[in-house]
Symmetry: C2
Subunit: 421 residues, 2 copies
């Protein structure tokens, strides 16, 4: 193996339509440098795979299978929701990681996730120094919530934004057709518990060619029922119909989510609903308008069939850049998307120290939300449009997207000890 | 105008991703025969437009705009939910229709809808004879529910089926990625109050390349909670996760829909929910599995962005054939899709007398549903696959589908009397 080290790659947190495109960027770039990176071991189900020494041997996958990752949504190696504690609280976990990395001659740590995993990645780089086992830890950004700091945007977001913009436009065409005698209000619930980026994308459904009345309920704006109802009524009276985009994070002034209506089933059990039916019923009760509502949930973040070309390219680019930065000797950084021009849209990959990323959340700027709190501004539109630009269709087979399923062959374990999570 | 008569065209009931493709077929074919069809007047908001003499002058639309209808979902002229009563109960409505048709020299009646509108169309042809004002009444089939008799399938269904199959596959990839530490069960609710055709399409998400455990809850099968829960548990234990496709029409043995759980909000108001959260909460309560759920609602029937090519072609073909049948002297018929071969898939347009269509609903054959009631059979798969075959992407502009919005210019009214609906 000479000087070549192995690399570890893992997917973390909620998956996206393009996180596998980042994996593709990592794996193809690593394969192009066999003298420096011998093999890439993927964590089975994210970082848990490193802790339990459940590693996947990516060299067993064909070049075709790796290339197909670019077109495949979700996490091909499995992801997990598992936040490592602080170094002081649970040093054992970090020591175990280093132990596993040592056993498998791993010199590169590529962690593909959001804010929490940037923090973990940062700590791994710190402990590797402390334990004198050098690991280059690079964080590959991924999150549909678009809430990582410094980077102009996060891979994963552009495709959700496109899905929500497209779906809101299509459903708005539908309700407009039906409004004369039937449905007048359509409500779509979207993800984004803290930041309203995804909700904002619903606003793109309307433009100069498409006069669609849309009311957006952002998590950044406290819900005001009277003003909301008045807005919907005005739209229905003027246009005959209205579409409402409600963020799952929309909440009352006291912080309680709209979705938590204290709803109970016939047996008195608390019932988990969604914000969409709550809002729709509110409109019905106030004005009697017939309504329909949808909850997009996982459909929005897995919709590779309508992914943004920009997003796919950027997801691939940050994976590729992560490996290239590592090969250039970088450590404890995250590749970023840097927007250099809006018209025409130009971007390049930059980098930021993980110390400046970890545990910082990016919200919508106030000037991206209209004064009345129910719409997006032109500045927001200008920011969002390039991110949903372009189509990048997956191949189809028998009328369905032909997504790859990897073999995911395990690497033989080398450690005696198992590890209790 | 010579011998040329005008034609009337209207869209009825719930709209689809391809009903405008049928409109395109009607309008382009009519435009190709100016000596026989002078102009096509569209009903503004369906048949209501004929009753209130709100007609749209389609000759004001450019050839480009008419061509773009093929790529545009929903009803470009507006639709309505308005069922004409029987001839005996409300003869006045039918007489009014004839009066409006007479005033505008209309000799062809093209009605684009489902079972109810086939019935209306049939009655229009009867009364036109009785009142001695000859109208050729042709019904153009359209329904996402796929429940019209005689025709092999209904335009509109194939695209919903494709959307649900694609979405179920994508979301299943997502939940599989998350299952180790997070979501284990994903539930998607689909349309189809009486017939399980759309739910069946969810079963296509799994195939020989995609080992996805799917449980389908059909309206044709009485819900058995214990057997359902056991099935989900088995899948989660064997595969780590499970996807559930629940029809909005899924119901208990006593006929009560799953969605009607007697849910009440904090104020004691009955709350309209969906079947998906009910089913998801049921699983959670039994086994503690973390779940996610989606309700596709209008998104599924307006999703022109992922329409089936077969469906678009068939929707156009029945519109075109409707006009050609009329020009050949036919009356009181509906063009049908006739399947002549499965492998390779071959189809042609046939016809059926409206007397044989009106008020007959087509359900899933029992041999399309597996013995245990939770899956589709190979026979069902063989029937469904050709209907979702092929992609037919709309043009995009600024990252969004570039759907046409017609000018919809009104025809001057000729009658003194208005009409009370």
């Amino acid at each position: 193996m000479g000087q070549a080290k192995n690399a570890f790659y893992a997917q973390s947190g909620g998956v996206t339509a393009v996180i596998n495109a980042s994996a593709c960027g990592v794996l193809q770039t690593a394969r192009a440098h066999p003298k420096k990176i011998a093999n890439v071991y993927a964590g089975s189900n994210g970082i848990i795979g490193a802790l339990t020494e459940d590693l996947i041997d990516t060299s067993q996958e064909s070049d075709e299978a790796i290339a197909a990752l670019r077109n495949t949504p979700s996490g091909a190696f499995g992801s997990c929701r598992y936040k490592l504690k602080g170094l002081e609280e649970n040093r054992a976990e970090y020591e175990r990681l280093i132990e596993v990395f040592k056993a498998h001659n791993i010199g590169y740590f590529f962690y593909n996730g959001g804010g929490d995993s940037a923090d973990t990645c940062h700590k791994v780089s710190q402990i590797s120094q402390a334990l004198d086992y050098p690991i280059q830890a690079i964080h590959i950004p991924k999150t549909v919530d678009n809430d990582l700091p410094v980077t102009d945007n996060c891979p994963g977001f552009g495709s959700v934004a496109k899905y929500i913009a497209v779906s809101t436009r299509e459903a708005s065409f539908d309700v407009r057709s039906m409004a004369k005698t039937s449905t007048k209000v359509f409500v779509i619930e979207v993800m984004g518990r803290h930041a309203g980026w995804i909700a904002a994308a619903g606003g793109l459904a309307a433009d100069e060619d498409n006069d669609i009345p849309i009311v957006i309920l952002f998590p950044e704006v406290e819900f005001d029922q009277a003003r909301f109802l008045a807005k919907v009524k005005k739209h229905v009276e003027n246009s005959g119909f209205c579409s409402v985009v409600v963020s799952e994070g929309a909440h009352w002034p006291d912080g309680k989510f709209l979705a938590e209506q204290g709803t109970r089933d016939a047996f008195g059990h608390a019932q988990l609903g969604g914000a969409a039916p709550v809002v729709a019923n509110m409109v019905k009760e106030a004005f009697g308008y017939k309504f329909h509502w949808a909850v997009a949930d996982y459909l929005q973040r897995s919709a590779r069939h309508v992914a943004s070309k920009t997003d796919v390219e950027q997801a691939y680019a940050v994976g590729k850049a992560g490996v290239e930065f590592a090969l250039a000797g970088e450590n404890a950084i995250m590749p970023t998307i840097v927007r250099s021009s809006n018209k025409p849209y130009k971007w390049e990959v930059g980098k930021v120290s993980l110390a400046d990323v970890a545990n910082v959340e990016k919200f919508m700027p106030r000037d991206y939300i209209s004064e009345d709190g129910f719409a997006i501004t032109d500045a927001c539109r200008e920011y969002l449009l390039p991110l949903i630009a372009g189509e990048d269709y997956p191949p189809y087979k028998n009328g369905l997207p032909d997504y790859v399923v990897l073999k995911n062959i395990a690497v033989s374990k080398k450690l005696d000890k198992s590890f209790e999570l």
